[in-house]
Amino acid sequence: MVTFLARRLGLMILTLWIISLIVFFAGQILPGDPGRAILGPLASKQSVQVLDTQLGVNRPLLTRYVSWIGGLLHGNFGTSYSYRTAVEPFVRAAMINSVKLALLAFVIVVPLGIIGGVIAALNAGRAVDRIISVTGLSLATVPEFVSGIVLIVVFGVTLKVLPVTASAGQGAGDLTQFRHLILPAIPLVFVLFGYIARMARAGTIEALNSDYARTAVLKGLPRATMIRRHILRNSLLPTITVIATQTGYLIGGLVVVETLFNYQGIGNLIYKAAQAKDFPMLEAGVLTIGVVYVLATLTADLLLVALNPRLRAGGSDD
């Protein structure tokens, strides 16, 4: 168990380091001169150079990487080119907004996906199963802005039952804010549903074919009891991993949903930073996402070990 933890942590740090490399160098290949981008096309060459020196962008690449990483380790995420102030409060505020939206999506999709998957598994091969599988796969590959637009047309424009912007504005109550988040959350739910349902289905089918399920049937347990007591507990283990690791996707989806519904979240922050060539903001935003993903994966692993005694027992430590 200790070696397992140590190795997981080691791998996690390695992954984070590679992510930081990708993020930093991807940021560097963006064209254009940051000083020019900030001051605009009319500024003199000299003032652009002065600003570049001030921002430190004309130092060698490696020096900049080292000082960036050094800053990160001290909790300094850099200074935004666009706002000329620390990046950190922007990223933090955006993250809080995104977490709200993502949580709402998860709260809706997790039970829905699990129920859908289990129903599909119990009817494996029949029409219900095919309908759930094909619907899930289709919803999962319909881009969020497509389902978002259909939802806006139906609920926002035609029926006028739900607000079509994600932010309720300053001073709005929690309940109002919640109503504003419903429409943006649904496209995320659509995409995740098929994925979770598919895992739950596979896990349930595997459990149904196991020896312990056969034993339960043979000793005469009612089907409902067998499913509740023996199947679900086992079938849902892999689903947990999937749910946790979907946070990575979820944030990608947030870029689109937050843009569509004009919501100030991390996706929107990254999108706007890329357009404005605000590297420090961009790097901080993307790195935050990488960290969230890595932590979520780690949590899922630990949760899985905690819930499944067979993985804890030693022997193979994965």
Binding site: L11, T15, I18, I19, I22, V23, A26, G27, I29, L30, P31, V134, L137, S138, A140, T141, V142, P143, F145, V146, S147, I149, V150, V153, G156, V157, V164, V191, G194, Y195, R198, M199, R201, A202, E206, T241, V242, T245, Q246, G248, Y249, G252, G253, V255, V256, Y271, A274, Q275, L282, V286, I289, G290, Y293, V294, T297, A300, L304, L311, S316, D318
Partner: protein, 322 residues
């Protein structure tokens, strides 16, 4: 869950808990860690002849519906200019924002251009970029996956780390970083999406290779003194082909997703060239004024293409499992 024993020392390179064996890819390209077809990744060596499979496929109604819709869009992409009712670029500002009617079945957009014509002609770019990007990703991913799975060791460990790091970042974000850098064009999109698919496909291929690695025919090939390159491409590749085929069709669906999303965000085909994603972005503000037809119809076009690809994917998967 049989990966635990089958893969001493290698499995943890990518995945905890041996999930890979179930064909599951719990990571995050968007929607697509992948809805990788659970249980089909390790499709056994072909048991049915290709011809039989093809006949089985043609008998599935889902396949026929999907292929029909796809064919329709392919025809639009190839010959759309010939039968579109209007010039998709012709602006008629006097008849801007008119609702669907007999003269404009799908209405007109904010510049008075015929929405139906723009949808028909706009099929071209997405139908060119999507398959090219998927083919590129499949070729690179297959080569990488074969190397990771068969050579193992340091190759697997290092490539595995890089793959995981790429997967940790949402595909959309990686894509637009590189597109901003390289400038949006058809080829940029093909290359960027192809490269993003590479690690995802490599994972699937690697998992499939692992199930082959200890089989007798490979020991025999090694004993005959075959070189690793030959073993990978001539011995293993044909046996993991079904898994690659399924992965290819699954990725095709996500490629549609990615291309549409990137052009919606403004990183794809640039206006005034008609394109579903960028037309939606351009007309989005009109939606709130009630001009729903300008965005809804292109959105439905994307949805229909995605559904068609999925129906085909699902049928192929079913037939390969038969």
């Amino acid at each position: 869950m049989t990966d635990l024993s089958a893969d001493p020392g290698g499995a943890e390179g990518l995945e905890p808990a041996g999930l890979e064996a179930a064909g599951v890819d719990p990571a995050g390209l968007g929607p697509g860690g992948s809805l990788a077809p659970v249980g089909t990744v390790a499709v056994a060596a072909p048991t049915l002849r290709a011809q039989t499979r093809w006949r089985l496929l043609l008998r599935r109604p889902t396949f026929l519906v999907g292929a029909g819709i796809l064919l329709f869009w392919v025809v639009c992409a190839l010959f759309g200019h010939a039968f579109a009712p209007d010039n998709p670029l012709a602006q008629q500002l006097l008849s801007a924002n008119t609702a669907p009617s007999a003269s404009h079945w799908f209405g007109t957009d904010g510049l008075g251009r015929d929405v139906l014509s723009r949808i028909i002609v706009g099929a071209r770019d997405i139908l060119v970029i999507t398959p090219l990007a998927t083919v590129l990703g499949t070729i690179l991913g297959t080569a990488l996956g074969l190397a990771m799975g068969y050579l193992g060791g340091a190759v697997d460990l290092i490539a595995g780390r890089i793959v995981e790091a790429v997967l940790a970042l949402p595909a959309v974000i990686i894509a637009f970083l590189f597109i901003v850098a390289l400038g949006p064009s058809t080829w940029t999109l093909v290359i960027v999406i192809g490269l993003i698919f590479t690690p995802l496909i490599a994972r699937t291929v690697r998992a499939a290779v692992l199930t082959e690695r200890n089989l007798d025919y490979l020991s025999a090939a090694r004993l005959l003194g075959e070189k690793p390159g030959r073993i990978m491409f001539r011995e293993i590749l044909p046996n993991v082909m079904p898994a690659i085929l399924v992965e290819f069709t699954v990725r095709l669906g996500y490629a549609v997703f990615a291309v549409a999303t990137l052009s919606f965000l403004g990183f794809g085909v640039q206006p005034p060239t008609p394109d579903w994603g960028s037309d939606i972005a351009a007309n989005y503000s009109g939606l709130l004024s009630g001009y729903w037809w300008q965005t809804l119809f292109p959105a439905l076009a994307i949805a229909s293409l995605v559904t068609a690809v999925n129906l085909i994917t699902d049928s192929i998967e079913q037939v390969l499992n038969a």
